[in-house]
Structure formats: C-alpha cells, structure tokens
Amino acid sequence: MTRTDPANPASQVTPGLLQRVWRSIVRGPIRPRSDRDRKWIVFNSFVLHFRPVRLPEKTLRYTHTFGLGGMSLVLVLLLIATGALMMFGYEPSPQGAYASVVGLERDVLFGRLVRSVHHWSANFLIAVVVLHLLRTYFTGAHHPPRQFNWVLGLGLLLCVLASNFTGYLLPWDQLSYWAVTISTGMIGYVPLAGEWLQRVVRGGPEIGGATLITFYTLHTTIVPVTIVLLMGFHFWRVRKAQGVVVPRAPGEPVEESPHKVLGLPYLLLRELVVGLILLAFVMVFAALVAAPLGEAANPGMSPNPAKAPWYFLGIQELLLHFHPVFAVVLLPLCALLALLLIPYVRYDEDTSGIWFVSRRGRRLARWAAGLAAVLTPLWIVLDEFVIDFGGWLSGVPAALSEGVVPVAILGGVLAGLYLAARRRIGATRNEAIQAAFVFLFVAFAALTATGVWFRGPGMALVWPWGS
C-alpha cells in the first residue's frame, strides 16, 4: 500500500500501472484483517453486496432455512451454465433435434454428463423450490413486511415450471413428444379460448417444427431472463425486510434488536459450504444416473401409458376423476389464487418466525397431513371401482355430474374440517388455515405420487411392486 505523508510531499510515490489498474477494480482490501475490512468487502463488492453486511445470529441456524433459497440459486446457475454449453450443439428442428442430442451424448467429451447435470438439476430445482415454499410458509415468513416477496416467489415457481416444461420437449424423443402432446391437449379444455390458446402454444394445429422453435426460444431466452430478473427482485426484497424471518419459540415475542453477527465470514462461509455440497451431490448423481433418452419421436405411435411430466401428473390424475374443465382449469386456478391470497388473509396474530404457528398448530397440521394421506388414496380407489357420478346422474350434463357434484362434496369435506377445527378445537385462523393448506398439499402430493407410480397401461391402477 502506498501512503502519502501530508507533512512531506516529497515522500509521495506514484504506484505502478498494474497496481493502479488493480486498485481501480478492487478498491478495498483483499484479505481482511479486521471486522471493518470484512464489512468493507461485502459492502463494496458488486456480487457480495447482495448479501447482508450484518445479520441476526439466530437466522444462521441451518434448520431454520435449510439453505433452500441458496440451493435454488446454485441450481439455476448450474442450469444456465450447462444449458449454454448444450446450445452450441443443439438443433431445434424436428429433423435434427433428436440426432443432435444423440450426437452430443456420443461424440462430445462429457456431453452425456453435462446433459445429465442439466436434467437432474432441473428436476431437483422443482423439488427445492417447493420445499422452499413450504419452509417459508411454515415459518410464517409470509406476514408483513414479506407479503409481496411471497408473491414474487410464486412467480418464480411458475417460471421454474415453465422452464422445465418447455425444456421437456427439446430432446424430441417419444417421452417428450407425447408428454407435451398430452399437456398441451389439456389446454384445449379451457372454456371458449381453449382451441385458440392451444394453437398459440403449439404454433399450429399439431406439435411440430413451430412448437419446437417456440419452446426452444422460451426455454433458452425468455424464461431464464425472467427468472434472473425476478430472482434479483426476490433477493432485494429479502434485504429490504432485514433478512430472513427471525426464528422464535411459540409464545415468544418478536425481538426488537436481535444480536447480529457479520455476514462475512459467518453467512458466506455457510452458503459456500451448502453450495459446494449440493454441487458435489448433483455431479455424483448425474454421473451415476444418466438423463433418460428414449427412441426418436414418432407421431404415429403413442406409448402406453403416455404421461405428462411428473410435476403435472397431479393434474393429469385429477383429469381421471373430474370433468376436464374442473381438473385442468378451475381447480388449478383456485389453488393458484389461494396461494396468492395466503399473505393477504386477515390473520388473528403475526406468527412470523414460529414453526407451524403454535404447538396446537403443529398438532393440527399433523392431523391434516395424516387425514389427507388416508383419504386421498381411498377416494382414488373408490372412484376407480365404485363411484360413478356420471352414470348415477345420467340425466344431467357431465359438467354438473362429474364437475360440480364431486367438487362440492370435496369442498364440503374441507369446509367441515375447517369449521370443526375452528369451533370444536378452538383453533385460531392461522392454525385452521395452515391445517387446510397441509391437507390440500398432501392431497396433491398423493395425486402426483399416484400418477407417477400407480398408473400403468391405459392409466389403470397398478401395483408398482410385484406382479
């Protein structure tokens, strides 16, 4: 370091060119010697200034956040890196797509590994963002001032789903072709605008070159750019809310000024460790389990069974039980609306930072989960073999007998459980709504699991083990 002695101008030394260039880029210390240096580094680095200089010590505990937000970021970066690599070799046309993917796997060094990392990162990302949503919800992090950040998070969830879905078509094998045929077939059931919407998504009456180029463009530019912008917004809102929600025990008041520690080293080191472990896990997993690639797409032959991507199988399962307009449009829209409204409900109390609202909330949540885990499979099996609203009410339109009637029954069951929790057990609104959330989430998870493992040829119920 060059210092100027103001008393003696002759002592002034002009630093060399390299040093001047270096110090124009990195203006502070590189190796911190004091806490002051550490604050300076975080505050003045373009990348690090996304991280807090100081943060409440309690929020550091791993089991408070499980590092899920940071893991999502690592996976997104990994997806961008591997995706950009694959763009050099991929050809978005029905004639060339499959061959280019096969060529990438066969002829390019690490081609298969890069594709597998991309494939598995994308699938893990869905799981991680859903867990992140659950963690946020169950620690009450949707209360003010974090309400709008919950909405931004939902936007990111939708973007991740869109990204996954548009990427699903690109290998142009039997699996991807028919999964996208079925998923875009669901769009056709949207009332009034369905056929038009389907044509826009497919770029024509059927899946072909126009669909592929549309999906490719969305997958490689529009959606990733949106995700990166939304992520910046999401992180900024976390900073503006003074970091993540501070954990507290049930009944404990909100701490006015929690004890704080420096972001460097305490937070950044932890984030580095979580990121590296995740990276190692994805690498090992991708090296051991290659991304699937079936036979080239054949529009003349549907495989049996033909399934949507796994994250849409819950909706495909609904389609087997409800009138299509309800299964594909109304129920998912209601679910999305409910998720959007979660932070804006008038709650009895601010339970931010408390896992599962309270002790009673935890007990209710456990009951709701157990009930949904039993009722959902029961209902699926009954609907397969016994229940037949369409046949019993053969005189009325299908929208009524297979849509309104079963939805009303299920809604009635849910409302009954909610009121029972409120009136009989005396649950607060926070606790009862949480129980309803748990019930619906577990039910959807059970539907998805049924679609993934228990549906065989002709979408008949099968036992995955045995036979």
């Binding site: 079925i182 077939g185 826009v200 126009a210 003349g300 549907s302 087997l320 002709g458």
Partner: protein, 157 residues
C-alpha cells in the same frame, strides 16, 4: 404544476403508452401461428384409391394424411382422424375388438368414430371425403369436429 408542464407530462406519458402498445402488438403478431403453413389445396387432398379397393366393413390407415379411411358395411365412406379427442394421442385400430382404442387413457371408439368408452368427450374428428370417377379422395385441410356420428356424415359412391 403549471398547465404547460402538466400537458407535457401527459403527452409524453401518453406517447410512452402508445409505444408499449405497439410493442405488445408486435409480440402478439410474432407469436401467432404462421399462416404460411396452410398447405396448398392440391397438397392437402390425399388420393386414397379406387372405390373397389376398399372392402366393405374395413379400416385402412393413411399415416401421411393422419387419418383412417373407414368403409362401412353398407358401402359408405368416412375419413376419421387418428387423434384422440381426449388429449391428442394417436389411436390405433384394434381389428380383433373392432374398435379404436387409445393407449393413453383407454378411451375407445367404434368404427364410426363414436365414443364407446370415456374419458373421450366426443367422437373422432372427420375429414371431408369426395368420390370422383369412382376414386376416393380425402381433403385433409379442414378437420371437422362433431359430437357424435350421424348418417349425413357418410359419403357414398
């Protein structure tokens, strides 16, 4: 704010709105399915062959045209789309069962394309059949939706 300043603000913000609307218009126009894909009329007509080549009560697949040519027991013709009306899977003709069975969700259709097993909501789509000089021609340009089979849909030699 003075009248002039307010006028300028309104005018410039209005222009910004016009610019955004133009941008949105361009985007929508780019995303709309291209009309150029409309095939030439001559291209869309598949010449299936002479009438006598098709036995009564038979189903012949035309993979290029994406349809089945059905000759009913009474000699009439139907060109039935091979796309399931449930979610768009391709339905094979199962000769032993004498019906179309969808591999995806087990919907089944009889030889007229009528639904015999749900979840398919309506009969298989139709293409227009023309018989000129005792040669069967199918126009694949327009696919016709229908609820169910009606006698008027059959073309006779």
């Amino acid at each position: 704010m003075g009248g002039r300043r307010r006028f300028l603000w309104t005018a410039w913000l209005g222009l910004l709105g016009v610019m955004l609307a133009e941008g949105a218009w361009v985007v929508v126009d780019f995303l709309r399915p291209r009309r150029a894909r409309r095939r030439e009329e001559a291209d869309a007509v598949v010449v299936a062959g002479p009438v006598d080549r098709f036995e009564p009560d038979s189903v012949t697949a035309f993979p290029q045209g994406r349809f089945y040519l059905v000759r009913l027991a009474d000699g009439g013709f139907l060109a039935v789309s091979r796309e399931c009306t449930h979610l768009g899977c391709t339905v094979p003709w199962v000769a032993e069962e004498h019906r179309f069975v969808c591999p995806c969700h087990a919907s089944a259709f009889d030889v007229h394309g009528d639904v015999v097993d749900p979840p398919a909501p309506r009969a298989l789509d139709l293409y227009e059949v023309r018989i000129e000089n005792r040669v069967v021609k199918v126009n694949t340009a327009n696919r016709q939706r229908r609820r169910a089979f009606e006698a008027a849909q059959v073309t006779r030699a």
